[in-house]
Amino acid sequence: MSVSRLIVLRAGIAVVAGLLATPNAHAVDFNFSGFGSIVAGYSSGSCTPDNTMSDKFNASCTRFVADWAHAGVYSDSLDYRQESKLGVQGTLKFSPSISLTSQLVARTADVSQISLEWAYLTFDIDQAWTVQVGRKRLPLFYYSDSQDVGFSYPWLRLPPDVYGWDAVNYNGASATYRKVFGQWSMKVDAFTGSESTKNSPYGKLYYMEPKTIEWNSIVGGDVELNKNWLTLRLTYIHSGYQQIDQATNTKDVWPSGAYSGNQTIYGASLNVDTEHVVVRSEYSVFDRGSFQYTAKAWMMGVGSPLGKWTPMLTASGYRETTRFPDNYVASNWGDLSLSVRYDVTRSSALKFQVDRLHDGPNTFMGDSNMIAVSYDFVF
């Protein structure tokens, strides 16, 4: 862990500890909440020793990448560490319009660690406008904000084909505008900032050597439209992108021959929620085509809330294309999952999910069947 990251983490812990230490202060309004998931599972299927993942994952016969950003990978033996997590969030309200929010998450995937996910100041300028400054979640997808909160979604995990990328948060600023037009409510965000991930867990899926992945000069926006039963979301992000080999402190060269590039990300999401039907769908394009690949990812899930039970059937896929086939092997895989959520109490749920992953023709992780159970809770 770098010195600067340690300082940021210590500052975050100090903020949360400070928030916890002042619950009875009259001048400020304090709000504390948390969430957690205990997840156990394993992958199985016909043995695929020949994969192109980092050698670290070669020992297993089958593997299933459940959490790309944090290198949560199941092998063919039962494992409870890959997706289990515990998070706490404190919000300190200095006045009706100014507050400080901090969120820490402890994970057992990759290397056990506590990470500072969020630490931002919120300024509610009026009913319509909100400005936030600090460390925030990168709003790539519909569930990005609450992606660590298993209780907030119907599946056991967010479909990794869509939600699996190398940056999760960013340091910067955002402005949000809300407006109601007849039946529709609209929320528009614009944001800018940067993110650098040292010892990138995502990088460890591909390389044995530690890498730093940098998203710089991030500029983006998203629009969310809601009417009673329908939610639509559009997103756009542009940023610089580079990868640094930590041992040599030099930039890695991309298949194009360049040492850095620009990426453009865009996506759309359509969700339906009625008393009897739940539909979740997402489509996203990561255009790193000028230096590496363009990846298209999609997912579509349909379910039905039946009292405390919510069964879902979900299909998803991920497909890369490249202009540099001599220097880059494009990946292509798809997944079909059946999941069931059972609301145990108002704040906890048990889930069960089976996945069937087909990877090919260029094998990255290999085919696998994945089976997992989870207990998600909020407090």
Partner: protein, 141 residues
């Protein structure tokens, strides 16, 4: 023969009527002195936390009944047309999202009435038979 048949049909109809669960009428209430022109859509958007801005630019102060009670689930199913699990998971998404926060929940009808009486832009829902005090019914379902 025909009489017997009619009796059976009548018996079945009566059985159906009495066997169906009896739902309480729900009243959406605001303070007596509120001049906000609420309509079904605004009430729905407020309780889904899609907007808290009232037509006069001030902020609505809605309150839910405790999740798990019959009034809460009936309100969620019949007015919001959502499954209770959607509201529950949606709440946790709001809690851990940098936007609007989930609504307060109060224990019962009396607590909601007391809250609405004491809150200028307060809005809540209660069993229609329990309405009392300094509140006005703006919608019944």
């Amino acid at each position: 023969m025909k009489t017997t048949f009619n009796k059976i049909i009548l018996g079945m109809a009566l059985w159906l009527v009495f066997a169906l669960p009896v739902y309480a009428d729900i009243a959406v209430i605001v303070r007596t002195d509120s001049h906000v022109p609420y309509d079904d859509l605004l009430v729905e958007k407020i309780f889904l936390v899609q907007t808290l801005t009232l037509p006069d630019g001030t902020k609505a102060e809605p309150v839910h009944q405790k999740d798990g009670g019959s009034i809460h689930s009936e309100f969620v199913l019949n007015l919001l047309n959502k499954a209770p699990t959607y509201i529950r998971s949606g709440w946790s998404k709001l809690t851990f999202t940098g936007g609007l926060k989930p609504l307060k929940e109060l224990a019962d009808d009396d607590a909601v009435i007391k809250y609405v009486e004491n809150t200028p832009n307060g809005i809540g829902y209660v069993d229609a038979k329990k309405v009392k005090g300094n509140v006005r019914v703006i919608m019944k379902l």
